[in-house]
Amino acid sequence: MLNDHNDDRLVEMCFKSYYQALHRYAYAMLKNNEEAGDAVQAVFLKIWEKRIHLIKDQGIRAYLYTAVHHHCLNIKRQQRTQEKRLADYREPGVININQLISKESYNRIMNCIDQLPEQCRLVFTKSRFEQKTYNQIAAELDISVKTVEVHMGKALRILRLKLSDILWITFLYNTFTCFSN
């Protein structure tokens, strides 16, 4: 059995080894940097305080990913409940303005999305702009979840080919933003 000092050391090692990857995973689910960071920290805090022995089950990485996944699902569930309550008071038609790129680039992206094959465009826009889950999209369009996955992959492939020239501009912008934070 590891002693307290070794446990602390191990938690630190795990945190430093997996924080960035777990944050990426949590961010993909929560779409919020701060909430994603908090989710990863909450998982580690629980491990630390409840003295969950990471070594014994030989699957530290799998345990962490699963714990972050469950934590994020819980947060999303809470957020959905809150949103339902707020929906009655909110004005409709609020548009999320993309602040990462110029208006011209944004229009070009939207134009490329419009040119996607019909079903592919429908799936992609429902996922990206209506924030619907794969399950919801599959149910709405009466297709399988696997078909949704295929359309999403196809959309990204087509867009990536058509829009490769403006990607570097965003990359530089994001890099600058990250480093200046």
Partner: protein, 323 residues
Amino acid sequence: MDFSEEEIYELITKFLSGEATPDEAMQLEEWKEESIDHSEFYAHAVRLWEQVSGDASCPESTNKAWEKLAGKKTGNNKKKFTLKVILKVAAAVILMVSAGALLFKINHTPQREYSIMLDAGNNFLRDTLPDNSIVVLDKQSGFQYGADDNSRKAILKGQAWFCIQGIDGKPFEIETRYFKIKVLGTTFHVSVEKEFQSVTVTNGAVLLITPHDTLLVSANQKGCYLPSSGRLTLYRKIDINEMAYATHQFYFDDTRLEDICAKLASVYGRKMVIADESLKSMRMTAEFQNESLQDIMVIIAQTLHVHFKQTNDSIIIHEKNSD
């Protein structure tokens, strides 16, 4: 990890949509780390995704996040502390008694001595330690080992393969030239190459500790230390042939016969000669688990349609019709 282009686009979009399962998220991380091309491909896809979504992942630095977490833990501890004052006083009394006992014990514990010293010389050396851990030293490598009631410590010079027996309350630490390895019950291999020193783990986990960095290396991972940068780096691919001198396990994936022979020669200590130049570039895929060299040669001969003959100190491989 082999994915077709379609599959990897699907996996990336699934991940970025927040739909990936933990297994899929890990598969994607592993795929990214396989090569620079993969990580650039992923970064490119993410940039596009962020443009469409209008928001971007921008985590704070790992060290900053760690400090924040450590602060939260301390804060929680303080809260508990104020709520349980009486319990704490009682604990303090017990602690003082224990500390006294511990101090007594430390003063009366004999200083550790490295009771076992091994030197491989020109051969591989296999030995079982008193705790039933197994060590196999590569040629020209040296090993010192000592244990007391609370710990097991060793010093390694050169490279070696270990199968360490986990013992509760008795951690196993190995010091090498560049880092300290804290073993968490495991099988692993420490290798020294010209440019770097590495630890390849096949089972369990180890912590690599340098004065400036620490790294957790789990099963099927490799941790490397590059003296020029002083950094520890994690790789998620391992080469089991590296430790074949200890395990006699080989995995050849479309490997040239010349390279296969070189590996077998170094492990089995036999000179291997490929008599016909044209045979050197023949390729073979095979896995060998603890086979004798004779058996391996029979399999190679049958697979590649070649002949081999053995002399006192060497094995000669030649074409079937040239005898």
